[in-house]
Subunit: 201 residues, 2 copies
């Protein structure tokens, strides 16, 4: 009943985050009905991802700006302070921080936070890379900001990283906790309201 | 900041139904981080949709089972009653009906219901195709079932189609309205509860 090619499409797409088999089937049939040129647009768009490579300093996938050192546009930007490093989980988190226009340092992409409260070996490699960069180029970083999600696992990883990097920076900070702007005090959970009290200013 | 190739990916994916630009960006970065072979799997899966063609009788995109007449596996199945036709909006609706194992007729795929309460020219073409098939092959269909979504626009289109096909079938029916199995009477909306009363059995 379901054509083989739709099954192949569903298999591939249901593996992606936040797409289930039903949405995948809908997408596949939608595209198949749109016809050749719409299908080809999506093929080309996915294939274009082949051109992205991770920056050799921050590990985010990007277009390489400095081809000699394989650095992205942030890491090779002369106006950015290389002595202040924000550690983020993923590229979209980085974009949100950039969007605030309040950060002029650079980043380290940690990769997806695992659900078992330990650092993966890939994450340890990236942290070691940061450690030796700091040691060889700066002696010590001015500040390392742990900008991981304020969740149980994000907090666990932050503690581990703080320990790991304790000799690499003058200060290691985390993002502030408290009430989100526009939020409601009545409906704030205990953790959030407690943090807001502790971090009152 | 955002690499050109991610922008291209987001452009293509945000055009698909129920994917927004944020989810598209997350998907793009996720795939880019997964690396070459994961990207290629998705490329191949999308490209495989090129192999699907619409059945010449019901218009659903599918693998063609009867190559001489370009018919899908349902339309060319000798055990299916060609005199009973269910009109559905899309392939996934067809699959849900098939899943009930209570329908042994065949289908006509109408294509996406528009949000202005009229039939598109593509939809009129398909209905005309059904009309002439019925006229030439059957004289009259035993039954045409309008299996469109129970929404304002689905109902408007159903009325238009009922009018359009009034000479093509002995009876034209719609799917029953009432309480969904497992549903709650207390929380049923007025329309649903009203239909359930009218269609009590």
């Amino acid at each position: 009943m379901i054509p083989e090619h739709i099954k192949q499409f569903v298999d591939a797409f249901a593996r992606l985050p936040s797409i289930g088999p039903r949405q995948a089937a809908r997408l596949g049939y939608y595209l198949a009905n749109q016809g050749t040129s719409a299908i080809q647009d999506v093929v080309d768009a996915v294939a274009s991802l082949h051109h992205l490579t991770p920056c050799q300093r921050c590990f985010r996938v990007s277009h390489i700006a400095d081809k000699k050192q394989n650095l992205c546009d942030i890491c090779s930007h002369p106006g950015r302070n290389q002595k202040i490093v924000a550690i983020v989980e993923k590229e979209t988190d980085l974009l949100s921080l950039e969007h605030t226009k309040k950060f002029n340092g650079r980043y380290l992409l940690l990769g997806e936070i695992s659900r078992d409260g330990i650092l993966t070996s890939a994450q340890k490699l990236r942290l070691n890379h940061l450690k030796s960069f700091v040691k060889n180029e700066l002696g010590q970083a001015e500040e390392i900001i742990l900008a991981l999600a304020p969740t149980t696992y994000g907090d666990m990883d932050s503690s581990l990283i703080m320990d790991e990097l304790k000799n690499s920076a003058i200060v290691i900070t985390r993002l502030g906790r408290g009430l989100p702007t526009g939020g409601d005090i009545e409906f704030a959970d205990d953790e959030t309201l407690g943090s807001a009290l502790e971090q009152r200013r």
